[in-house]
Amino acid sequence: MSGTVLIVEDEAHLAGLLSDVLQAAGYDVVLTTASRAADRVLESPPSAIVMDYLMPGLNGAQVVDRIRQVVPNSPPPVILVTGLSNARELATKVGADAYLRKPFDVDKLVNLVNRLAKQPEG
């Protein structure tokens, strides 16, 4: 598989792990923080976004809102990863395409990304 996955996460080591996993699955990975996520999407639209919910400053729902503001026509699919017990509810609130509750099997993440990621055009 190929394409870029944007990881929006406020825990550096978890972001590192997700990065390792997705890179091993053949993706390019960009790590970013909540407030810069929309800029990154605008700079180079990713094939998928893997995003935490609780982050300093902005939460997952606010981040997705802002991404939809900058790319209203083709927002990338979002996979929400959170440790909160109401993950399903949050995913609905955010409008995420899928969710995983931490800790999760990394294969599940890879499968979700594989399934949802938009293949790069051309």
Partner: protein, 632 residues
């Protein structure tokens, strides 16, 4: 001990109930004696003595003056209108004794002046009128029902009839008719005395005042004396039965004064006791502790009433003491292992008093504006009832105790709220910190297990670092759970974490905190701590440092925290991807209105400085427009 309390019927408040029969007998005997003496002139024993007459008049005068003084003092002190009239009546009596008895006796007019007899009658009628007015004013506090009014009118009519009939009988038997005015005035006085007496009697029952009781009793005797004055007129030097009755009347007034004094004295003593007891309550130690407050209330109330006192908390708005025969639901006081009945609201009026099994129980409700907290119950191992004063004392005490108890219960509630808040804060901390770290560790280890041979030392270092953080957080959680709920400041939280970090890592950690570092908001505190954690993790993971210094200071209006190490340092401007951790730290600082700078010199060390405002600021999330990205 006690299983329930019966509501006692209101006991007669008067302690003079016991005097009713003897006083009635006394009245009847004296009345009979008077009637006999006035209707049978042969029975009259007349003494001719200027000196005795003058002595009787002087004694009566002194008592009248004393009564005037007491009554007028009460009027001046408390503005009691009935006392003014009583005082004026006795002033009239005093004036009469001077002007119509003593002066004529002293100047030797005792055998000449018919007007003294007439004046004596007028004086009594005026005094009687004033006393009746006083009785009516005192009685205004008591509402006379229709039946009461009818009764008073009936008695007055009967008295008038009796007077007229007596006069007619006397007229038929004796041709020497007294002068109409000289006869009528004492009779009018008699009627007024009787009417006032009836009102004072009623008032003595109602207000429990010995003063009224003796006034009423004495006035009855004075009324009988008037009959004698109406029928026989003797010169002033003759001591007649009416004079003796009048002397008894004034003796009764002496008793009234003594009773008033004694009652006031007792009242003062009780008020002093009440004050002492209430004051003892205000010295309650440990207002935060409901148990201690309860003990103090029970101790003070027990000492004051010479009884065992118990505070029974039944919960707000609930709990009624009742007769074991009448209650349908049992309430249980687990502290004293005592059961109480619960009845519907308003069924019983406090206080409750019950005597059984050789003990008397008195209970008053502990009421607050928010409802009923419970009861204050006093138990005495005796069959004597608690006195009126005991009831009053326990009531006053109960009112104060309620306020104290409510306050300490409120403290307890606030404390419980603080514990809940602390728990919820801790839960959030564990969720955001420890649980996240453990989740990460599980995932990281699971990932590494896939190719164990390819595991790098840096990956194990990372795991060790996160484990250290998790360990510190677990220890912190345990400490928090063990300690009293308290809010820790940002300085305390950071210092504690850094010290723990020093213990679990091999790095020498020094923390310097300024003295006047202000408080930051709770959100800023969390983010500051996370920044410091991340900074220390980086030191541990990348810096290869042996010393790290954390400095927390007040910087203008901000709180500045710096983390400086003596490690390998790095090129700040190089490699964005590698410093994602720094980016997150910046984001944390910015999210609470602060900022973060990093300076690093290869082979010298790294310094991370974070500043957050001392008050929490919720920054507007930057929009793409504000960052000039749309134009690009």
């Amino acid at each position: 001990m006690f299983t329930g309390l019966r509501h006692a019927r209101p006991r007669p408040q008067s302690r003079f109930a016991a005097y009713d029969v003897p006083s009635l007998l006394l009245l009847l005997a004296l009345g009979w004696l008077t009637l006999v003496s006035v209707t049978h002139p042969s029975q009259l024993s007349l003494t001719h003595s200027n000196v005795l007459s003058a002595a009787i008049a002087t004694g009566s005068l002194l008592i009248a003056l004393a009564a005037t003084y007491v009554a007028l003092t009460e009027f001046l002190l408390y503005g009691v209108l009935s006392s003014l009239f009583i005082g004026l009546a006795f002033l009239v009596f005093a004036a009469g004794h001077v002007g119509l008895r003593l002066v004529p006796l002293l100047v030797g007019w005792e055998r000449h002046l018919n007007w003294t007899t007439y004046g004596w009658g007028v004086e009594d009628a005026v005094a009687g009128g004033l006393l009746l007015a006083a009785g009516l004013l005192a009685d205004r506090m008591v509402s006379l029902g229709r039946r009461g009014r009818d009764l008073v009118l009936g008695v007055l009519s009967a008295l008038v009839m009796a007077v007229l009939v007596t006069l007619w009988i006397y007229h038929a038997a004796n041709s020497s008719i007294p002068h109409a005015a000289e006869t009528l005035t004492p009779l009018i006085g008699a009627i007024l005395f009787f009417a006032a007496s009836a009102l004072f009697w009623r008032q003595s029952k109602h207000a429990n005042r010995a003063w009224f009781f003796w006034l009423s009793l004495s006035l009855t005797l004075a009324g009988f004396a008037q009959f004698q004055y109406a029928i026989h007129r003797y010169p002033l030097d003759v001591v007649q039965p009416g004079d003796i009755l009048r002397l008894v009347f004034f003796t009764g007034i002496l008793f009234a004064l003594a009773a008033e004094w004694s009652q006031n004295y007792r009242g003062l003593r009780w008020q002093a006791r009440e004050l002492a007891v209430l004051h003892a309550l205000t010295n309650t130690p440990g207002i935060h502790d409901v148990g201690a407050v309860r003990e103090q209330i029970e101790r003070v109330a027990g000492d004051a009433l010479l009884a065992r006192a118990r505070v029974v908390l039944t919960g707000r708005g609930a709990g009624y003491l009742f007769s074991p025969n009448g209650g349908d639901v049992l309430a249980h006081d687990s502290d004293s292992n005592t059961s109480f009945g619960v009845q519907s609201r308003n069924q019983l009026a406090p206080p409750y008093q019950d005597g059984r099994n050789g003990e008397v129980v008195l209970g008053v409700p502990l009421e607050t504006t928010q409802g009923r907290l419970g009861f204050l119950v006093a138990v005495r191992d005796t069959t004597d009832d608690f006195s009126t004063y005991d009831v009053r004392l326990l009531r006053a005490f109960g009112a104060q105790a309620s306020i104290l108890l409510e306050r300490s219960l409120l403290y307890e509630e606030i404390e419980a709220g603080a514990i809940l808040q602390e728990r919820s804060r801790l839960a959030r901390e564990i969720h955001d910190g420890l649980a996240q770290n453990l989740a990460f560790l599980k995932m990281r280890v699971a990932w590494l297990k896939r190719s164990p041979a390819a595991v790098e030392a840096s990956q194990l270092d990372e795991i060790e670092g996160v484990l250290e953080t998790a360990l510190i957080e677990a220890r912190h959680a345990i400490t928090t759970l063990r300690s009293e709920p308290q809010t820790s400041s940002a300085v305390e939280a950071i210092t504690r974490y850094c010290q723990e970090f020093g213990q679990v890592s091999d790095i020498n950690v020094e923390v310097h905190a300024g003295e006047r570092v202000p408080e930051v908001g709770p959100k800023a505190q969390v983010e500051l701590l996370r920044v410091v954690q991340e900074a220390l993790n980086n030191v541990r993971k990348h810096a290869n440092a042996s010393n790290v210094t954390i400095d927390i200071q007040l910087d203008e209006a901000d709180v500045r925290v710096s983390v400086e190490d003596d490690g390998s340092g790095f090129d700040v401007g190089h490699g964005e991807h590698g410093h994602f951790g720094l980016e997150i730290m910046k984001e944390r600082a910015e999210s609470v209105g602060g900022h973060l700078t990093v300076s690093s010199t290869p082979n010298v060390g790294t310094a991370i400085r974070v500043c957050v405002p001392s008050r929490e600021v919720e920054p507007e999330p930057p929009t793409p427009e504000s960052r000039g990205l749309i134009e690009r």
